[in-house]
């Protein structure tokens, strides 16, 4: 499919082992593989979705959670229109570290980036839960995070929603003019949009 209106860039960040790569693979390939290898640096996935009748190509950068890869991953924050901050609901520490990840994203991404809090592994037994959804919800509100969802990359629960709702939020910002399409905002125009809008957006669009 080459006829799309926008390319939107996402990044997925969070502690290692919270399921970032699994979320991406569930979203792009609709499969779950628990024994997946460790992400080195960054990996990349794409999928087309439609929002408000517009075709959107999501370009998703899945980053390594390892501290030692921080320098390489941070270089990908720049120009992300959406940022998924992922923690593991069964590991309290991964939630406590979210504030660090949030600060990182705010420092390296751009001010309009749609930030979404994702509590993964919701399929686990309630007895393993170490972070309540109320607490995470509150954290999201207090920190100006647009959206909070609990997901399961394993059962696919809410995975689609997380990526799509993020795109909707970004798209709202595009419509309201908060985002302009250029390299640093993480939004680029697709070929369709480009030809129809080429008069007004000179040079803003990118290959």
């Amino acid at each position: 499919m080459s006829s799309y209106n926008y390319i939107i860039k996402y990044i997925i960040v969070g502690d290692s082992g919270v399921g970032k790569s699994c979320l991406l693979i569930q979203f792009t390939d609709k499969r779950f593989n628990a024994g997946r290898e460790l992400t080195i640096g960054v990996e990349f996935g794409t999928r087309f979705i439609s929002v408000d009748d517009k075709q959107i190509k999501l370009q998703i950068w899945d980053t390594a959670g390892q501290e030692s890869f921080r320098s390489i991953t941070q270089s990908y924050y720049r120009g992300a229109a959406g940022a998924l901050l992922v923690y593991d609901i069964s590991r309290r520490e991964s939630f406590e570290h979210i504030s660090t990840w949030l600060a990182d994203v705010r420092r390296h991404a751009n001010p309009h980036t749609t930030i979404v809090l994702v509590g993964n592994k919701s399929d686990l037994d309630e007895s393993k839960r170490q972070v309540t959804s109320e607490e995470a919800e509150r954290f999201a509100k207090e920190n100006g995070i647009a959206l909070f969802l609990e997901t399961s990359a394993k059962s696919a629960s809410n995975v689609e929603e997380v990526f799509v709702k993020t795109a909707e939020n970004v798209y709202e910002k595009i419509k309201s003019g908060e985002f302009t399409s250029n390299e640093t905002s993480g939004i680029r125009l697709g070929p369709v949009q480009k030809s129809s809008l080429s008069e007004e957006t000179q040079g803003g669009a990118c290959c």
């Binding site: 460790l38 640096g41 501290e67 320098s71 520490e93």
Partner: protein, 392 residues
């Protein structure tokens, strides 16, 4: 699968008091340490994080000892205190823990650990691991390595290591020999550190089914600190290439030699170590190794037939209190010795045949502990390299 240390964030009242007391002392001695929140550089003048290896080793090291295969004599080397300290704890408590080396430690406790290991005069050698998790230890160890100004395989040797992995050799032995030559080009402290880490990782490879950390994962985790280069910093494929190298090194670690005895640094620990092990400790450790050799003879013999000239055994003596239930609590078939601190110096920790068979590398299982009472708490750490060979 969590060890008894896995109670996140829970400290008893007395432990909290200890931490507070310690923290008061630290901040009094080093006012700068008070604003340690964004601590990425050493908070003290003579720290270890971010300091060249050779430099920090001067004041913060643990001795390792091994038998030189050529001369048969006992040699001594050094690894940073933090490495010996974390390494022994991890080998004792972490080898069955899912996600070990992958899952991050607690950020707050990591800051405390970093300060402890950065602080003279003991540099954490007396650290009691109670209240910390194995993930804390794994993480602070990796951070130490990652913060070294140069990777363990120094920048000048980066390309040769990467090129060698792609070269065609007629046999594995030749390839190993080629890497051996490269390893010997590293500064001596780096050789010790590299071989220590390889040995440790090889142990963890044997328990992949519990940890779900296979050799590729383990290699990936250590690539940035061991084999990376600023030129390739932003290039994921170069990390993957380095991962291949590290994988090979871990896979064949028993075939690499420790530095020869004439290589220098042959100072017995009693001279150089800030907290020298007693004679009893040395004697004890030596006995332990012999026992290990004997026990593993025949188990791994066949696989190492070609490596009879290789190094035999290294073990390190590090001081510091240790308080774990160790493997005895997780390996089935172990004697029920629940007393954390009551190991009797005269009766070795029983390691049963069951656990040996299960773990294959029996010789790297936790060693006999010396009595903790009366004198300084002490632990014996030993890492054997290709132990089956030196028995021959």
């Amino acid at each position: 699968m969590y060890s008894s240390f896995e109670i996140p964030g829970v400290l008893t009242r007395s432990q909290k008091a200890l931490v507070r007391g310690w923290w008061k002392k630290v901040t009094a001695a080093h006012p700068k340490a008070q604003n340690f929140k964004e601590m990425k550089v050493p908070s003290v003048d003579k720290g270890v994080f971010g300091i060249p290896l050779a430099q920090s080793l001067e004041y913060a090291h643990s001795s390792i000892s091994y038998i030189d295969d050529h001369s048969g004599s006992q040699c001594y080397g050094v690894v940073p205190t933090i490495v010996a300290k974390c390494g022994s704890f991890l080998k004792e408590e972490g080898i069955m823990v899912e996600g070990i080396f992958r899952l991050p430690g607690n950020a707050r406790r990591l800051r405390i650990l970093q300060t402890i290991f950065d602080t003279p005069a003991t540099y954490g050698s007396q650290l009691d691991w109670r209240g910390y998790t194995v993930h804390d230890a794994a993480c602070i160890l990796r951070r130490f390595i990652n913060y070294l100004p140069e990777p363990v395989i120094t920048l000048a040797n980066y390309r040769p290591f990467k090129e060698t992995i792609d070269q065609k050799f007629s046999s594995i032995n030749e390839k190993v020999d080629a890497f051996q030559v490269l390893i010997e080009k590293l500064p001596l402290p780096n050789q010790y550190l590299l071989l220590y880490i390889l040995d440790m990782l090889a142990i963890f490879v044997t328990t992949t089914r519990y940890t779900r950390m296979d050799i590729d994962c383990l290699a990936a985790v250590f690539v940035p600190g061991i084999l990376s280069h600023p030129d390739d910093k932003l290039n994921p494929s170069s990390y993957k290439h380095s991962q291949k190298v590290l994988r090979f090194l871990i896979d064949h670690q028993e075939m690499f030699s420790m530095p020869r005895s004439e290589a220098g640094l042959g100072t017995p620990p009693s001279k150089a170590s800030p907290a020298p092990p007693t004679n009893q400790g040395l004697h004890r450790a030596a006995t332990t190794v012999k026992k290990g050799l004997h026990a593993s003879n025949g188990l791994d013999q066949t696989s190492y037939d070609n490596a009879d000239h290789r190094a035999s055994a290294i073990y390190s003596l590090a001081t510091g209190s240790f308080s774990g239930t160790g493997l005895d609590s997780i390996v089935p078939g172990e004697d029920d010795d629940d007393g954390d601190d009551n190991y009797n110096s005269n009766s070795p920790t029983p390691i049963t045949t069951t656990s040996r068979a299960q773990l294959r590398r029996s010789r790297t299982l936790p060693g006999n502990r010396i009595s903790y009472s009366r004198y300084e708490p002490r632990q014996v750490v030993y890492v054997n390299r290709n132990a089956s060979q030196s028995g021959s």
